[in-house]
């Protein structure tokens, strides 16, 4: 692959998925895209890039975009966000939505489903506290391949052993040979949609809790700012945003501010009481 072809790939991926591919990532491109080339009967990356540029090459283009996404995910990844979901966000929303009787959750880069299913498990275990409030989980991702896997909810022995206590596995999964499928009642709690965060998501409506974890890290600064500001518009004034462990809004936008003492949690700051009353200087966590 010649330099101009790598540049073409960089620009193509940046515009299609937001992925910033630095010059040192040539090795990654090779390991991820050679299999795509072979699947399309092409023998090199050079040929692949040429084929992508032909009119009507939409399938190749989509395959390239999807192959370049990083889809790693675990059940209850990083622990804390799910603890905060159980102990802070969910109780606050149960109180605040007692009249409207619906809580809406969005997993904005759900990958193979571990994140929305972890939330579904938390909700199952908190069912007695929900007092009949309906909870919607909308899970979206750019890649149809991961969404198919997520929808089926079938995981390898390796995947179910990272993050799931054995009792949780026994309770909510059914063994299929060497694989484990999350039970139908949990699968029914999640709605899946293909969605590119670079495009409008206003059509999804307003959410009370948004998990947008480990996807902004792949974008450049203006793209991060744009996505965060559009999420802010789609979140209820008292709603919560959860970012990944290596992500923050600080220095990017003031559409969100960190919730003091609760790491990884953000609010828009337009909420009634907290916007009306100035926050105390020293706030004590939890």
């Amino acid at each position: 692959m010649i330099a101009s072809q790598f540049e073409y790939l960089q620009q193509f991926l940046k515009s299609r998925s937001g992925l910033v591919l630095s010059n040192e990532k040539q090795y990654l491109v090779e390991s991820r895209l050679l299999p795509v080339a072979r699947r399309h009967g092409l023998s090199s990356l050079s040929e692949l890039v040429q084929a992508m540029q032909k009119p009507g090459a939409t399938q190749i283009a989509t395959d390239v975009v999807e192959a370049m996404t990083t889809n790693e995910s675990f059940f209850f990844r990083d622990g804390t966000p799910f603890q905060l979901f159980r102990e802070t966000m969910l109780p606050a929303m149960i109180k605040a939505r007692a009249d409207r009787r619906t809580i809406r959750i969005w997993c904005a880069a759900a990958s193979t489903g571990q994140e929305p299913y972890s939330l579904a498990i938390c909700l199952k275990e908190a069912a007695h506290k929900l007092a009949g409030i309906r909870v919607e989980i909308i899970a979206t991702d750019l890649s149809s391949e991961v969404l198919d896997k997520a929808r089926n909810g079938i995981y390898s022995q390796f995947e179910v052993q990272r993050g799931l206590p054995i009792q949780t596995l026994l309770k909510y999964f059914t063994q299929k040979g060497d694989l484990w499928q999350i039970n139908a009642d949990l699968r029914a709690m999640v709605q899946w949609r293909k969605l590119n965060l670079l495009e409008s998501f206003a059509g999804l409506g307003t959410f009370d809790i948004v998990f947008c974890r480990n996807v902004l890290i792949y974008f450049d600064q203006p793209t991060k700012v744009d996505v965060l500001q559009r999420i802010a518009r789609g979140i209820a004034p008292d709603g919560y945003l959860v970012l990944g462990a290596a992500e923050t809004v600080v220095g990017l936008t003031d559409a969100f501010r960190p919730v003091p003492g609760l790491r990884g949690l953000y609010q828009t700051g337009q909420a009634g009481p907290s916007a009306a009353t100035p926050r105390p200087r020293l706030s004590v966590a939890g």
Binding site: F158, Q161, R162, G163, P165, I166, Q167, L170, Q175
Partner: protein, 121 residues
């Protein structure tokens, strides 16, 4: 430093487990079957036990049932680590008092995740 007893009849598996657990800052003892493990526990009760199922002399399940009857035998956190990966085996192990369950093959990530679940890290 927490003390973990690794019980497995394969010396290769014991070696791999020892390397992973030493990285997680455990002090390690080893036993090659349930009977030897029980003797070691009587001398000095470990904080954690990584336990294979199929072993000569006394298997993992028999060992666990015997351990829980020993004085102080309720204390160690027991993590099964076995190729027996069906729901029936897992359920029997939990009923017998196992705290966590690793299905072989395992790697460092799995051991770390499971020891975390079990409250050992």
């Amino acid at each position: 430093m927490k003390h973990c007893l690794v019980v497995d009849d394969s010396s290769v598996i014991r070696k791999v487990a020892r390397r992973i657990l030493e990285e997680l800052e455990f002090e390690i003892s080893e036993a090659e079957d349930g009977l030897k493990a029980l003797e070691l526990c009587r001398q000095r009760m470990p904080d954690a036990i990584l336990l294979d199922w199929n072993m000569p002399e006394m298997d993992g399940l028999e060992f666990l049932l015997a351990l829980r009857k020993e004085e102080g035998g309720g204390a160690p956190i027991v993590v099964f680590c076995t190729t027996e990966n069906d729901v029936a085996h897992i359920t029997r192990a939990i009923r017998a008092g196992a705290n966590e369950y690793i299905m072989k093959p395992f790697d460092k990530d799995i051991v770390e995740a499971k020891f975390q679940e079990a409250g050992l890290l």
